[in-house]
């Protein structure tokens, strides 16, 4: 219900206040997460390259790590790792903020002022994460693929040129699009779960802590399950 209502209010997102709020949330939810996303994306690509490269080298096929890393990053690990980071950092922060606002009666104050909390608080965060999640996922993919190239060049004797040529050979546009679709869905999931848990908060500071914890757990589980469902829909044997 809350999600439907937030979508219904998106028509007003170009008005001045919501527009500023969306930009602010894009900065808070996206730009401020770039540091941790860089580290996680880089090491995810490096681990993928090392693990697949070591196995492939036994058969003399290590030059194929470019494809392995790129496809896995685009389809799964890029959107998945980005979503986990955003759920843990941004989702938990949204839940804590909404929860604190609920227990300190700020949400009730908005209602009495006839300011719809979904329009005022949820919609800008939803739009911001729907924009930022795919962008951050593209960034995670790029960093991860580059991390794989570094491992290939330094530890598996696969030159950068060979790595990227191999990646281009087998990775498809579909891999990128499916990954971005997942990122978009994960953005919606994280915002909805976080805001819903925040609005349901009771019992003061303890309740805020519980809402934050539930947000992270529910988001993680939902991301995993939806990730599988989307993969199953687009990739069949």
């Amino acid at each position: 219900m809350m999600l439907m209502e937030a979508f219904a209010h998106m028509g007003g997102m170009f008005r001045r206040r919501p527009r500023h709020e969306i930009l602010h949330q894009m900065y808070v939810g996206g730009i401020k997460s770039l540091g941790v996303i860089t580290v996680v994306g880089m090491f995810t690509g490096m681990i993928l390259a090392l693990q697949t490269g070591l196995e492939l080298r036994r058969f003399g096929l290590q030059q194929n790590i470019g494809t392995a890393v790129t496809v896995v990053m685009l389809r799964e690990m890029g959107p998945f790792m980005t979503a986990l980071i955003i759920a843990a950092s941004v989702g938990s922060a949204i839940a804590a903020q909404m929860g604190t606002m609920t227990v300190s009666e700020e949400i009730a104050a908005l209602e009495i002022m006839s300011i719809n909390p979904v329009r005022f608080l949820v919609m800008p965060r939803l739009v911001a994460l729907m924009i930022m999640m795919p962008l951050l996922t593209v960034y995670t993919n790029m960093v991860g693929i580059f991390g794989g190239a570094i491992v290939g060049a330094t530890q598996l004797e696969v030159t950068m040129t060979a790595y990227f040529d191999n990646a281009r050979l087998y990775a498809e546009n579909k891999d990128l699009y499916v990954g971005l679709l997942k990122a978009l869905i994960f953005g919606v999931v994280i915002t909805t779960v976080a805001c819903h848990q925040g609005f349901q908060t009771k019992e003061g500071a303890v309740g805020v802590g519980q809402a934050t914890r539930r947000t992270v757990i529910i988001s993680f589980l939902t991301i995993l399950i939806l990730g599988y469902i989307v993969t199953r829909l687009f990739y069949t044997l």
């Binding site: 300190s104 700020e106 009495i112 006839s114 300011i115």
Partner: protein
């Protein structure tokens, strides 16, 4: 102006309001007192449909607020200002922005006009200098005064005050009392005040009502209220050292 008809409300097994009936007249300062958990704030929240009764009706003028939805509820709520116990200011906005928020959301007035009105309301609560301060930089009393400025920024007909003086020092409490009285005198608003503070209630109230275990046990003007023979009222008065007519008169004659 506001009428409760046989209002009942339960939270789990606890009956918080048990067939409550009362009526508040226009421009009246109506005080609701009682022990913690007596149903005072719950009554207040029913008036703006933050809570709905399990049975009974709450009227605001000719509207049944307890059954209102959507645009009708918005129209009814626009008649109210609400001062929350905590102030309930939005933490990421300055005091002035908080005060101007309802106008920004509901009118097409230019920013300069909204800022001007917000400054006027801040002046009314003697806090013009705090216009650009963030809520975290304000004391409890200042936050309540900013919240009061926000509550009256749309010139409401009715202002609800939830524990306006709780946690404040006596001097600040009296300032808030004076503001409540001034708001009524200058703007003609109907004021409903929920409080534990009988001294405050006796000095500003036109009518004082006492809730006890979900029932209205006394409702009368201050002079009659302190003479009530109801044991719960007597005990409540005595707990705040208001045992004689003189004690109240001394309080009420303070400037």
């Amino acid at each position: 102006m506001i009428r409760f008809e046989q209002v009942e409300k339960r939270f789990g097994s606890k009956k918080v309001l048990d067939g409550v009936n009362f009526e508040i007249k226009k421009s009246e300062i109506f005080i609701i007192v009682g022990l913690s958990g007596a149903g005072k704030s719950v009554s207040l929240k029913h008036m703006v449909r933050l809570l709905t009764p399990d049975s009974g009706r709450v009227w605001v003028g000719d509207d049944v607020v307890s059954e209102a939805r959507g645009a009708e509820l918005e129209r009814i709520r626009a008649r109210f200002g609400y001062l929350f116990q905590s102030g309930a200011l939005l933490a990421w906005m300055s005091a002035g922005e908080n005060v101007g928020l309802p106008l920004r959301e509901h009118t097409r007035k230019p920013d300069e006009d909204i800022n001007g009105i917000a400054r006027d309301k801040m002046r009314l609560v003697h806090l013009e200098e705090a216009y650009d301060k963030m809520p975290a930089d304000l004391s409890g009393g200042m936050r309540k005064r900013v919240s009061l400025a926000r509550a009256i920024v749309r010139d409401p007909e009715i202002v609800l005050y939830d524990e306006p003086t709780s946690g404040l020092d006596p001097l600040t409490s009296r300032t808030i009392d004076k503001l409540i009285r001034d708001t009524r005198d200058e703007l003609g608003v109907t004021s409903i005040v929920v409080t534990h503070d009988l001294h405050s209630a006796l000095s500003i109230g036109d009518t004082i009502a006492m809730l006890h275990e979900g029932k209205m046990v006394e409702m009368s003007p201050p002079k009659q209220f302190i003479q009530s023979r109801h044991p719960v009222v007597r005990s409540f008065l005595e707990s705040q050292y208001i045992t004689t007519r003189g004690a109240w008169e001394q309080e009420s004659t303070q400037p």
